[in-house]
């Protein structure tokens, strides 16, 4: 009985804390500018199914894709088991779903195979990061925390899966020994993997029970802890990949937004007789200096980033040694957003810490190195768009600060003066027809 109460309390605490964090994440995302993405719902659904559920963009790196699918399928399927664990925990039952009979055995058996494969995948991923030291996991922005984050997740997963398998092994042995509470007239569940562990187990029922209970509690507490770790981690993508791909950019990659606030002003400049359209208050600023200037989708992008670095390893600027790393743009955005969120929690909504994303996190040198080639957006497995953030910050630099590199200022002036980015008069535009050859 005490165990049941303890379990319920733990469950409430775990889910409650998680809900609190999620609400703060949603609040933070809503700090972004409005953006209506309610169009084309069917196309959005298809994109989500293809990219998030079907992981269509993972395939470009087959080894990673293979083991990632195992982790992903394992994660989702094995979590069905959590339903049973919760019911058993609340009501003190044992394997309450075993009335499903053969299907139950099939389920438990498949969980075991999956758990074993997940273990292998975790070891593979750990060695890719720590032994093979893949370049993209060891770049500048991969400081201590991002590196530990990945390892913590993989090691936790190994512990969880091991606990699950040891628990099953003890259970199988207890059922074989016809122990009270465990044995229900016949052996329920199938134990294709854990049965191999039986020879390592002690023979006394009480010790077996202790190990089984320990692993059971470890497994469920581990899952609740993991649930609460996820929103702080790069692992958040397991949840956000779905909404983030649903709200993917559906227009051609080369199409940048036309800023409406600018359109209104330009229309007035070209045709002074035009009446200004009724708009709400003008935007605080053109372009983005801080996270609040970005759209909610760009902020959601930052929480969805799993720091895999595919964007950065495809970025021509980064490949040739420039400071720019699209992954860093996303990590900086998330770090700054979390900082702004904490400030609001601690000092209220109007608090100004006199810091900003541009300047304190992202430097102008990074922004000006971008060729806008879209290699980063193409590479991202969850359709994150670092390029739009880069362009919004350039907009701030140019239109609010007038701090573009001198050559670009010159290019602007030439377009303004003679309608071309080079110093040629319009009257020369037909010269090519006259040139000999």
């Amino acid at each position: 009985m005490i165990a049941n109460i303890l379990f319920v309390l733990l469950l409430i605490a775990g889910v409650g804390l998680f809900t609190k964090k999620i609400r703060s994440v949603i609040r933070n995302i809503k700090l972004g500018q409005d953006l209506n993405l309610s169009d084309r719902p069917m196309e959005r659904l298809q994109t989500m199914i293809r990219v998030a559920l079907g992981q269509s963009k993972m395939g470009s790196r087959p080894v990673a894709a293979f083991f990632h699918v195992i982790l992903y399928v394992g994660f989702i399927i094995i979590n069905i088991e959590v339903i049973e664990i919760i019911i058993d925990g609340v009501f003190g039952t044992h394997r309450v779903l075993s009335f499903l009979g053969g299907f139950y055995n099939f389920l438990i058996g498949s969980f075991e195979y999956l758990a074993f494969l997940v273990l292998i995948a975790c070891f593979v991923f750990l060695s890719r990061r720590n032994i093979l030291k893949l370049k993209r996991f060891h770049m500048k922005e991969m400081t201590k925390w991002p590196k530990s984050d990945a390892n913590i997740i993989l090691i936790t997963e190994i512990f969880l899966m091991s606990a699950f398998l040891i628990m099953n092994a003890c259970d199988f042995q207890l059922q074989t020994l016809q122990a009270e509470h465990y044995f229900k007239g016949e052996i329920v569940g199938a134990f294709p993997i854990s049965s191999a562990l039986i020879s390592f187990l002690p023979s006394e029922v009480s010790t077996l029970e202790f190990i089984e209970r320990f692993c059971w509690w470890f497994h469920i507490i581990g899952i609740l802890a993991f649930l609460n770790y996820v929103p702080y981690s790069k692992h958040f993508h397991i949840m956000l990949a779905f909404p983030n791909t649903y709200y993917s950019k559906l227009t051609p990659k080369g199409q940048f937004t036309n800023m409406e606030s600018v359109t209104n002003e330009v229309k007035l400049m070209l045709d002074p007789s035009a009446t200004p359209p009724p708009t709400d208050a003008p935007p605080a600023r053109f372009g983005a200096k801080d996270v609040q200037d970005l759209t909610w989708k760009q902020l959601m992008d930052s929480y969805s980033c799993t720091e895999c670095g595919r964007c950065t390893s495809a970025c021509p600027a980064n490949i040739t040694g420039k400071l720019l790393s699209p992954r860093k743009i996303m990590m900086d955005t998330r770090d700054r957003l979390e900082e702004v969120g904490k400030n609001i929690d601690q000092h209220g909504a109007d608090f100004n810490d006199s810091k900003s994303l541009l300047g304190n996190y992202i430097t102008e040198e990074e922004l000006w190195a971008c060729t806008s080639c879209n290699a980063c957006t193409e590479a991202c497995p969850v359709n994150i768009d670092p390029l739009s953030i880069i362009i919004d910050m350039r907009r701030y630099l140019v239109m609010e600060q007038s701090t573009a590199p001198a050559e670009l200022q010159g290019m602007f002036a030439k377009i303004e003066n003679n309608g071309a980015p080079w110093q040629f008069p319009a009257s020369d535009r037909m010269n090519w027809t006259k040139d000999e050859n």
Partner: protein, 263 residues
């Protein structure tokens, strides 16, 4: 060979005529000496295929692409709206351009500013002409030559067009070879996003050198391009390795014009 006649929209309008397609030459195509050769090749192919076309001439102005990518949205929209006024004034319906940056900007970013046209890249128009039997192409001097194609970002990834340029040059019976980074994984030449107009940031290599190195590793006779900026960047890259006498950088339109002997 037939004399090249390039009417302007104003000429045509004065005669009460309307061309099938407006040829948007672009700033590079008008002013850059190397790109001007490509412009001429496109015009010659259009004329050769019996496509009635015209240019804006002095009335053409920068699409605003480099301003927009550099963050100057005001300047971009000023350019865009003035261009839209000119284009709409001539009731333009179809536009072809040999510059993927102009192509992307007019096709994707002009509609919400009032400019709605069918916009095609010259590789797509060449493909259409070949498919319709209006342009007949044989290998000629290109037969069997080892050629690779460098995807322009603003044609490829930006607009999903990977096939047209490949299919057009493969009509020349060439020995076509792909770089490892091609199509959706193509590596930028380094000029996009207004980089064409500034020095690169500090790094350990220039992007065009990285790309030229990759192309040269295939030992091609020609590196085919479909963008005036890629043309500049890759030509410089090839020169950097002192290979400009062995390896040519050519636009697909130049190759077609040369193959049908009108260049």
């Amino acid at each position: 060979m037939e004399k090249l006649v390039v009417p302007t929209m104003a000429d045509m309008m004065a005669k009460g005529e309307k061309p099938e397609v407006l040829f948007w030459v672009g700033c590079a195509g008008s002013f850059d000496d190397r790109a001007k050769k490509v412009t001429k090749a496109v015009a010659k192919i259009l004329q050769h295929s019996g496509v009635s076309f015209a240019v804006l001439g002095m009335e053409e102005s920068c699409t605003g692409d480099p301003a927009k990518r550099a963050g100057h949205e005001f300047l971009f929209q000023m350019q865009a709206m003035s261009n839209v006024m000119v284009l709409n004034g001539y009731e333009v319906t179809k536009i072809v351009t040999a510059c993927p940056h102009c192509f992307n900007t007019i096709k994707n970013e002009y509609p919400s500013l009032g400019g709605n046209y069918e916009v095609v890249h010259h590789s797509q128009l060449l493909q259409q002409l070949i498919d319709a039997g209006r342009l007949k192409v044989e290998g000629g001097s290109f037969k069997g030559k080892k050629i690779t194609f460098h995807d322009p970002c603003y044609l490829g990834r930006a607009n999903g067009e990977y096939e047209a340029p490949r299919s057009v040059i493969q009509k020349l019976d060439i020995y076509f070879t792909e770089m490892k980074r091609s199509r959706a994984n193509g590596l930028c030449c380094g000029a996009g996003g207004a980089q064409m107009f500034k020095e690169p940031e500090n790094g350990n290599k220039d992007i065009n050198i990285e790309r030229a190195e990759e192309a040269l590793a295939l030992n091609p006779e020609i590196i085919a391009v479909g963008c005036p900026f890629c043309m500049t960047m890759l030509s410089d890259g090839v020169k950097n390795f002192n290979k400009e006498h062995e390896v040519q950088v050519k636009d697909i339109a130049e190759m077609i014009a040369e193959a049908i002997d009108i260049n």
